[in-house]
Point group: C2
Chain length 339, copies 2
Amino acid sequence: MFPRPNRKPGVPYSDFPVDEMGNKSEMITHGTPSRYSFVIEGLDGYWAHVERCNSNRDKRKDYLPFIAGQGLHVGFIHPKFAEELKRFPGIFTFSGDKAKGQMVQLNRTLITEKDCTASVEGVMQILANEGKIHSWRNEKYPVVTSFGSPSLFWLERACVPYLGTKAYHTHLNGYTIVDGEMFLWVSIRGDSKMHQDFPGKYDHLVAGGQPVNLTPKENILRYAQARANMPSDMAEKAIPVRTISYEQIDDQKMKRDVIFCYDLEVPYFWQPKNNDGEIDSFKIMRVTEVAKIIRSSTGSYKANSALVVIDFLYRHGFINPNEHGYLELQQSLQQGENE
Amino acid sequence: MFPRPNRKPGVPYSDFPVDEMGNKSEMITHGTPSRYSFVIEGLDGYWAHVERCNSNRDKRKDYLPFIAGQGLHVGFIHPKFAEELKRFPGIFTFSGDKAKGQMVQLNRTLITEKDCTASVEGVMQILANEGKIHSWRNEKYPVVTSFGSPSLFWLERACVPYLGTKAYHTHLNGYTIVDGEMFLWVSIRGDSKMHQDFPGKYDHLVAGGQPVNLTPKENILRYAQARANMPSDMAEKAIPVRTISYEQIDDQKMKRDVIFCYDLEVPYFWQPKNNDGEIDSFKIMRVTEVAKIIRSSTGSYKANSALVVIDFLYRHGFINPNEHGYLELQQSLQQGENE
């Protein structure tokens, strides 16, 4: 019974006592029934984003464990992608028995981080040239078993989901309070650049992947400047508040992401301005309005950023314990390996 | 691999690559090594509270499932305590096969919430008179499978851990900001009353169990008045921020608690005053000072309240992602069935 996957709201309703005739008995709750029953629809809208970010998780069992270093399990590889790696036996080896199943291993002759990085990079570039890896970014992520543990090698960002290694991100909620009401800055993503994901979607004021050799705070400072022209003494005040995580399986890719969430109250007179071409425009909206957009549409908001906003809504009291499924939705924000 | 129990910080250090001679290789992290390595001790102090609240969880397997209603699993009962219940076959029945194991069931002839409540109450009072249940409170908790789902019956608070049913609580972090620095109100619990738990310990400004027919917010209002003489228009502004959960097994008792955490910024000139005799005195302290007390001593703070403060430290940036074990400690605050 424990631990177990997160339940969706609404599921507890199947707990209604049922009499011999199959009729459900009246609901008795901690409060009056009406306080719970009218708000289910609202949380359902949030769940759509959670489900998008945690899609196809039942397919995890089809993936082969990816082992590096001295037997450390660092990733998951789809059997089809593993077939491609078999062409490079000096770099990837295959082993397995019937009991444990097959697995992919980084060749044990590769010892140092530098050697591992260079060897894997070579293979990945060949596969990218053959059109088997898309959206090369020229950005390196460390391959680790948990955040802050030593990185076994560095891996181009585009390759991370193909080897199913962990990825860390840093997102910033930029809010301001006017006349006691809370407003959130959102960015609208551009669609001009080749590697641009999620064109035209709403996103955070500042968000980005967590590359090698930067702490989350340093990463915030870097992205705040590039994305929103935020001076570093302002970005410096960003507060680390919580993390969310998810696991997403899509075709031959497995994303295992953890996002460090930051909050920053910005002066109400401050205006962001994009410097790196990723963002088309910025908009300041009532938090309640942002919540409404996220609840009512899964398409208009970048999916993982929507989860960060849901976490923000929780931490600032915009989602209420009286709403049915309050606990389940909150728990669902950390479905990945949060470490 | 997923889901799995929370790992302690420090465990990732065993991930150091080891060479043929058994020497650990240099640590490579997302930042410079020094940013991680100096702060491990600090988070270790917080873990002591997490471990206290989640003690003896390996003994869960010894407990018998407790079933009520139409086959709903609502609790866990220790075999020794179950022996006592065998004396009341009209109320508790026992069933089980070799595959599923034994379980305790509320007699199916008891249909309504009222009948179940009265029957169980009768048994529990007999056992309390025999000295087998302690600290009777005359406070009723609903027996539910998840928060907001229909309650199957009401159960005296003192009996909840004996039947291992879920319990919900509401805790309030009362803070104030003076010259840009954050202060937290703490209460020091009295030791005069017979049923008084945790005498002399630091606790929240306001905290209490979540009884039947009150929403968490109504519960805050009630306790805020009784514990801290807080006017309702002030308490009304408390913001629901997050929940924590834990599971604690102790002798024949299993606690499965979920705490609704609230934050309230109180005016700096406001002074709390206890009305119900549970609290000896109040103290306002720098948040950093409270954090230091919690880190350095497990004995001086009420254990579950310490977890709520750790959650507060996370949400307000007093615990930093650069600290090794940041993710694991955060995850550990929701080890119970958070639903």
